[in-house]
């Protein structure tokens, strides 16, 4: 039985990849297993938990709801590309560390990608706005409070 394979060319964290993939391969699995970028996590495969959130051309999307083939000619950003090249943290990573915004850490990459994009567009969010932006990412460990504090602190730091 032949599989329906397609060439994909895409940028991930600024690096170009070219692969042959089966059409039904989910983008989440492609990133994790074909590109060995396992920082993006899978929690539900039906678009609810948000753990798999990555940036597609700068916008947060659920990678479990995209096929790898759909990423052809697009730019993807994942958690592996969030910190600076020299290893220093993005302000949001630092703030999450400072405010204990993670416990098991499984939902964390999805939250970091969602909220880093949010902070690019919202430099002075209120707590309500932060909670609303966060509501598409489920966390079972933290009760969200410290994550909210971290986002507010990062926003302040990013405002300079």
């Amino acid at each position: 039985m032949d599989t329906d394979d397609h060439d994909v060319t895409l940028m991930v964290n600024g690096v170009k990849y070219q692969r042959l993939v089966e059409s039904r391969l989910l983008l989440s699995d492609f990133l994790r297993h074909n590109l060995a970028l396992a920082g993006t996590h899978v929690g539900c495969e039906h678009g609810v938990c948000g753990a798999c959130t990555i940036l597609l051309d700068g916008e947060p999307v659920r990678s479990c709801l995209m096929l790898a083939v759909q990423a052809n000619n697009h730019e993807i950003s994942t958690i592996e590309g969030l910190a600076n090249k020299d290893g220093t943290f993005h302000p949001l990573q630092q703030a999450m560390h400072d405010h204990h915004g993670l416990q098991c850490g499984y939902c964390t990459p999805g939250i970091l990608m969602t909220m880093s994009a949010f902070l690019e567009e919202n430099t002075s969010p209120s707590e309500d706005e932060v909670r609303e932006a966060l509501s598409g990412n489920l966390c079972r460990c933290t009760g969200y409070q410290n994550i909210v504090d971290a986002v507010m602190a990062a926003a302040e730091r990013m405002r300079g």
Binding site: D98, H100, L102, E127
Partner: protein, 780 residues
């Protein structure tokens, strides 16, 4: 010693790896030649298996193997009983445990029928459709009362009924107490707890290496040592041939400890058979069936009181839904039975429960582990009593609190750790007062009246509880100073986000005068530490933490002795700090800890008989019983009287878990527990139909609270040390999750004036729709 980190909000050692996506979780394990497993699961809750034929699946390209129960031969056996029944007189316990693959009968939706091994999970799932299954459906046992009636279908025919267990515990003489009481209040309560639903599901990777004669198993288990021992036995291997690694685990909350799951048993066997590494990752749909639940109880409870609200006694008869098998014994309902007593003086108690077999997934502890159910009954009984006796609900609680001079307080019944339920220490009234102060109890009635004039319906709830924590049997830790001066700590338990990599480092840091960041903690790897029980029952910090402390103390002594020999001075003249041992007052006369470690492992010379090389120690800690923490939660809600929508305006937790190691990590645990309590009370509900089918098996319909449902929480704590361990600590992992149910019931009743309208909230979970149904015929 200057670097005092114990009690400080030290930031976490483990964060960097997690924040950069570099931490190893189970699905990140990639091995050359690895194959993937998928399980065919029963779609029926109760059925006889007439036929399973995997031959078509084997023909699919990419499929390597497929197995049913008969292929396992002698390897197929029901799992062990993990927690035997406690030593209670007259106990009935019918042990029936789960099997790796169903034979003859399936007993719940999701029970595995066959396992397929393929080149990818995608192909393995394709192959599941190829398997031909014929099931002869039987009526499903779902309703607890119906399940106990004559003529009900039987989950296990050879039990003769659906009774999994029957336990009665008594203290004093309730009947006599009730006869003398001024008031006796009796009600039926229903409490359902939900599923753990961590964001990471379960997974197992098994790698048999025939040449090395070694089995390595990665498993999202909370109990790697037990898994290693059990699987070694089953596979006919020596314990030392098996290594179980619990990597970073994305949330545990209890059900990841339940073992042996079928997948834990199957994967290593398959790996040995095929001589290939095999991976199985539970998907979210499977998780609703394949990982254990907590579910419901029905209580017929009564409370006997004096007219000034003092409890004379409580009688409770309850049914507990145990699911299709009972490997975890009676832990959950015993916790309900014991925790019902709460922080109160209950002179007479008569509690009976029946654990019922049902055609539903297995029930094992999930954060709270049955305590929620007991606390709901007690707190609601007190609220009912307060209303009937016209006493303020907080006041009635205050009048019944165990006084501070009554500790250790013996409750006279047996707890889940098999010892008598004894509260080691406690000072309950200050916790209550702090909570009342923080929530603004005194001024609330005025605020409520003012809001009502504006058409807003506010309500308040206050609930108290105790939490049994830190039970035995024991944990161990090995602390070792390495020649580079860094310290390594290893313990047998696993970590699912509780901050062990930091908390245990803090404990060792204070003994050894080393920076927390220079301490590397390993948990959950049986090759790194051989002995232990696991992470459950809020015991990690207490039991393993104390073991770390003991081991670090011994290493400290060894270091001082070595340095004393080196400087030819008394150990009393030495100080350890900043990674060095120096003479008091002469800081330039020092030796680095790393150098002492090198010295202790000489290349030449001799190691004295009776001593050991290296600067290390392995110590164990086994508390003789659990330590009892306690707390009070208070909440103000606003209800929409037409839609029954609810908004939490204020949430306060005051908690006492003895000495606090890291207040930041403690607060995180409370926050997370509260969020789960909110989910349990108002959002999460497993909707089973009467044929045992789960109607909401997805995260779209099983509603976990989001950042919009969980409010900001205000925390405070008091410290009443535990006399049961040298550090004085008590566990805290489950506290946040325990009183949510009665808190919501109380606050909603208050906001909507339900008591005045003749409506009582005697069930959890609630929801806007349920509140509509309960109140539609009420007055007002």
């Amino acid at each position: 010693m200057s670097t005092r980190t114990f009690g400080e909000p030290i930031k976490r050692n483990e964060d960097r790896r997690l924040l950069t996506g570099q931490a190893l979780f189970i699905d990140d394990v990639e091995l050359p030649g690895m194959l993937h497993a998928a399980l065919l699961r029963s779609q029926a809750a109760h059925a006889r298996i007439r036929k399973i034929d995997v031959s078509k699946a084997l023909q699919r390209p990419g499929v390597v193997a497929a197995y049913v129960a008969s292929d396992l031969g002698d390897y197929w056996q029901p799992g062990p009983i993990l927690v035997p029944p406690p030593p209670i007189d007259g106990i009935i316990f019918n042990a029936r445990t789960q099997v790796p693959l169903a034979k003859e009968k399936v007993r719940h939706v999701g029970e595995p029928l066959a396992i397929v091994i393929a080149e990818s999970r995608y192909i393995a799932e394709d192959a599941l459709d190829d398997i031909e299954v014929e099931l002869e459906q039987l009526p499903a046992v779902v309703d607890l009362e119906k399940g106990l009636r004559e003529g009900s279908a039987l989950v296990h025919e050879n039990v003769g009924s659906n009774v999994s267990a029957h336990v009665r515990q008594t203290k004093g003489n309730y009947a006599a107490a009730a006869a003398k009481a001024d008031h006796v209040i009796k009600r039926r309560f229903r409490y359902e707890h939900g599923i753990s639903s961590p964001i990471e599901t379960r997974g197992v990777v098994a790698q048999w290496d025939a040449r090395a004669n070694q089995m390595t198993i990665w498993d999202t288990t909370q109990a790697p040592v037990f898994v290693r021992n059990g699987l070694a036995g089953m596979l006919g291997l020596n314990e030392r041939q098996v290594r179980v690694i619990a990597p970073f685990v994305g949330g545990g909350f209890g059900p990841k400890i339940m073992m042996f799951y079928p997948e834990e048993v199957l994967l290593p066997w398959v790996s040995m058979k095929l001589n290939r590494p095999i991976k199985w990752i539970e998907d979210r749909l499977e998780h609703f069936f394949a990982t254990t639940h907590e579910r419901g109880q029905i209580h017929d409870a009564e409370i006997a009181l004096t007219s000034d609200g003092r409890i004379l006694g409580i009688k409770d008869v309850f049914l507990h839904d145990g699911g299709a098998y009972d490997p975890y014994g009676l832990t959950v309902p015993i916790n309900s039975q014991c925790t019902l007593l709460g922080p109160y003086v209950v002179p007479n108690y008569d509690s009976t429960f029946t654990q019922v077999f049902t055609n539903l997934p297995i029930v094992t502890p999930y954060r709270g582990a049955g305590r929620q159910h007991g606390v709901f009954v007690m707190e609601r009984l007190l609220d009912l009593a307060a209303h009937e006796l016209n006493i303020d609900p907080v006041e009635i609680r205050r009048r019944n609190l165990i006084p501070p001079d009554a500790f250790p307080y013996n409750n006279g019944i047996i707890y889940q750790d098999f010892s008598v339920l004894e509260y080691d220490s406690g000072n309950y009234e200050p916790v209550l007062d702090l909570a009342l102060d923080a929530i603004g109890y005194k001024t609330f009635r005025d605020a409520q009246a003012a809001a009502r004039l504006q058409g807003r319906h506010l309500g308040i709830g206050v609930a108290a509880y105790v939490e049994g924590t830190g039970i035995g049997p024991y944990e161990g830790a090995k602390v070792q100073v390495q020649s580079n001066g860094k310290v390594s700590v290893a313990t047998g338990i696993g970590t699912q986000g509780q901050g062990h990599f930091t908390v245990f480092a803090q404990i060792a840091a204070d003994q050894l005068g080393v920076a927390v960041t220079d301490i590397d903690v390993v948990t959950g790897d049986t090759d790194q530490f051989y002995w232990g029980a696991g992470t459950f029952a809020s015991r990690g910090a207490v039991v393993a933490g104390n073991a770390v402390n003991e081991a670090a103390k011994v290493v400290r002594k060894k270091a001082l002795k070595l340095a004393g020999d080196l400087f030819e001075c008394s150990e009393d003249d030495l100080v350890i700090e900043n990674g060095r041992v120096s003479i008091v007052g002469i800081p330039e006369k020092f030796v680095k800890l790393g150098d002492l470690a090198k010295q202790a492992n000489p290349m030449r010379g001799a190691v004295e008989p009776g001593t050991e090389p290296g600067l290390e120690s392995t110590q164990y800690f086994g508390p003789k019983m659990g330590a009892t923490a306690n707390g009070v939660h208070a909440m103000i809600v606003e209800m929409d009287p037409q839609t029954f929508d609810l908004k939490i305006l204020k949430y306060v937790v005051v908690h006492d878990c003895g000495t606090v190691i890291n207040p930041m990590i403690l607060a995180g645990q409370i926050h997370g527990g509260v969020a789960q309590g909110i989910g349990n009370a108002f959002y999460e509900k497993l909707a089973f139909d009467d044929q045992g089918q789960l109607l909401n098996a997805s995260l779209a319909d099983y509603l976990l609270p989001t950042a919009l449902e969980v409010p900001r929480m205000e925390l405070a704590h008091t410290v009443t040390k535990s006399p049961l361990n040298p550090m004085g600590i008590k566990g805290a992992g489950e506290a946040g999750a325990i009183p949510g149910g009665p808190l919501f019931a109380q606050a909603i009743e208050d906001a909507l004036d339900l008591k005045g309208r003749g409506v009582e909230l005697l069930e959890i979970p609630l929801s806007p729709s349920r509140l509509f149904e309960l109140t539609r015929n009420a007055k007002g």
